[in-house]
C-alpha cells in the first residue's frame, strides 16, 4: 500500500516536472518559419468573419473579453503582438496553445474553424 502511494506521488511529481521542463519563451519565438508564412484562406470573407465571430464568442470571449480587451486577468487581444502577428503565427498559437501560461491548445477544432477565428480577429483590429 505504502509502495503504491509512493508510486503515485513519484509519477505525479515526474509529470509535473516534465510539464515544467520546457523553456519559458515568448510563443512568437517558437513559431517555425514555414508556419509563420501560412496565409488564411478566408481572409476578408464576410461569412468566415461572421462564423469566426460566433466561434470567438463561444470559446474565447470568456477569457479574452467580448470586446477583445481581456477578462478575469487574462490578456486582451488588442495588443501590438497580436496586431503584428501573421495569420500563420496566430494559427500556430491556436493549434499549440501556450500551456505554460494558461492558453489551451485548440487543435480539437477543425483547421477551417481556426482560420475563421483568425479572420474575425484580423477584421477586428
Amino acid at each position: 500500500m505504502r509502495k503504491a502511494i509512493g508510486l503515485i506521488f513519484l509519477l505525479l511529481g515526474g509529470a509535473a516536472l516534465l510539464a515544467g521542463a520546457e523553456v519559458n519563451q515568448d510563443w512568437l519565438k517558437r513559431v517555425p518559419p514555414q508556419e509563420r508564412a501560412r496565409t488564411n484562406p478566408y481572409t476578408s470573407q464576410a461569412d468566415a468573419i461572421a462564423a469566426g465571430g460566433r466561434l470567438f464568442a463561444d470559446r474565447c470571449a470568456r477569457c479574452h473579453g467580448a470586446d477583445l480587451e481581456g477578462a478575469h486577468g487574462k490578456p486582451g487581444l488588442k495588443t501590438d503582438v497580436v496586431r503584428g502577428a501573421t495569420d500563420g503565427e496566430l494559427f500556430w498559437l491556436l493549434r499549440n496553445g501556450d500551456l505554460r501560461h494558461g492558453m489551451p491548445s485548440w487543435s480539437g477544432l477543425p483547421e477551417p474553424e481556426r482560420w475563421e477565428i483568425i479572420a474575425f480577429l484580423k477584421s477586428s483590429r
Partner: protein
C-alpha cells in the same frame, strides 16, 4: 430476471431530481462548448480549458441475458487546473431490477500533458484513485472483467470495496479534422496482492462539418460529431492476453446544442460471450467557463 421496465421505472424516480439540480446550475449561465470528441471510454489529449468546470452525467443501461437489468449513473466534475493538468471527481450509483439502488463510490482522476506543444502523437499521463463497490458504470474494462461480475446481488457485492489505482497512457492525434486516440490501461488493487490488470481503448471521430456557419442553428452539421470506439480487457500479469476477457465496439455520436449542453449517445455491442450483448450509454455535459471567477468581485 425481469427487467428493463423495472429498472427504467427506478431510474425515472432518480433522474428527475438530478435533472432539476442540473437545470438549476444551467440557469443564468452562458453558452460554452468543449472540444472533446464524443467518446465514453476512450480519452483523447483534449484537456479541460484552465478555469473551466465541466459537469457531466453518464448513464449506462443493459439487460444481461439470464440476469436482472441494471442502470448505472455517474456524475463527473471536471476542472481545468492548468492548461496541461485536468482534475476530475466522479460519483457513481446504480440501480438493479429486483434488487436495489445504491451509491457505488467515487473516483479522483488527474491527467497531465507532459509535452507542451502539439505533436503528431500527443501523450497524456493519467492517474486515478478509485473507491468503489458493485460498480456498473463501465467507465473502463480491464483484466478479466465480464458478465460473470454482474451475477452478484448488490447486497453481496457492496461490502467488497475496491480501492484501486488506475493508470493510463493516452496517445492521441488530431489530423485533417479527425481525432485518433489510443489508451493503454493498467489497474492495481491497493489492498490485496491481486495482480495488475490491463485493458485498452481505441477510438476515432470527426465533426460532421469542418466549417462553422455564419448563423447559429441547432441542427447544423457543425454541431454534430460521430465516431467509434473499441475497448476491452487484456488479462492480468498472471494471465496476459485475450482469454476470458470482454470486448466492445461502439459507434458514438455527440450533439453540441447551441447555448446548451452537449448530448452523447452510444450503443456498445459485445464482441464475445463474456461481454454484454448491448450496453446503452447516454451522456449529458455542460461546461462553465471560468467557473471560480464568477464568485470573485466583478465576476459574472
Amino acid at each position: 430476471m425481469e427487467g428493463v421496465g423495472t429498472a427504467t421505472r427506478r431510474l425515472s424516480r432518480v433522474w428527475p431530481g438530478v435533472a432539476l439540480i442540473a437545470l438549476g446550475f444551467l440557469a443564468g449561465s452562458q453558452r460554452c462548448e468543449a472540444q472533446e470528441p464524443p467518446y465514453f471510454v476512450t480519452y483523447s489529449h483534449a484537456m479541460e480549458e484552465p478555469g473551466n468546470l465541466e459537469i457531466e452525467f453518464k448513464g449506462t443501461q443493459a439487460a444481461p441475458k439470464n440476469d436482472n437489468a441494471f442502470g448505472g449513473g455517474t456524475v463527473e466534475f471536471e476542472y481545468g487546473a492548468k492548461a496541461w493538468w485536468t482534475t476530475e471527481v466522479y460519483l457513481s450509483g446504480q440501480t438493479t431490477a429486483n434488487d436495489s439502488t445504491i451509491f457505488t463510490g467515487f473516483r479522483w482522476e488527474n491527467r497531465f500533458r507532459p509535452l507542451l506543444q502539439e505533436h503528431w502523437i500527443n501523450p497524456v499521463l493519467y492517474f486515478e484513485y478509485e473507491n468503489t463497490s458493485a460498480d456498473r458504470s463501465f467507465l473502463e474494462i480491464v483484466g478479466n472483467d465480464g458478465v460473470d461480475d454482474l451475477l452478484l446481488r448488490n447486497g453481496q457485492a457492496r461490502p467488497d470495496v475496491e480501492r484501486e489505482l488506475e493508470m493510463k497512457l493516452i496517445l492521441s492525434s488530431n489530423a485533417k479534422g479527425w481525432n485518433f486516440s489510443e489508451n493503454f490501461i493498467t489497474e492495481k488493487n491497493l489492498q490485496t496482492s491481486e495482480p495488475y490488470e490491463f485493458g485498452y481503448a481505441v477510438a476515432a471521430s470527426r465533426p460532421l462539418s469542418f466549417r462553422a456557419g455564419a448563423r447559429e442553428c441547432a441542427f447544423c452539421r457543425e454541431n454534430f460529431a460521430a465516431g467509434a470506439e473499441m475497448y476491452g480487457g487484456l488479462g492480468t500479469t498472471d494471465s496476459f492476453g485475450l482469454r476470458a476477457t470482454s470486448h466492445y465496439v461502439a459507434p458514438t455520436v455527440g450533439w453540441n446544442i447551441p447555448r446548451g449542453p452537449t448530448i452523447q449517445f452510444s450503443p456498445s455491442f459485445g464482441l464475445n460471450d463474456n461481454s454484454l450483448a448491448v450496453l446503452w450509454r447516454v451522456g449529458v455535459q455542460y461546461e462553465f467557463q471560468q467557473f471560480f471567477s464568477r464568485f470573485r468581485r466583478g465576476g459574472r
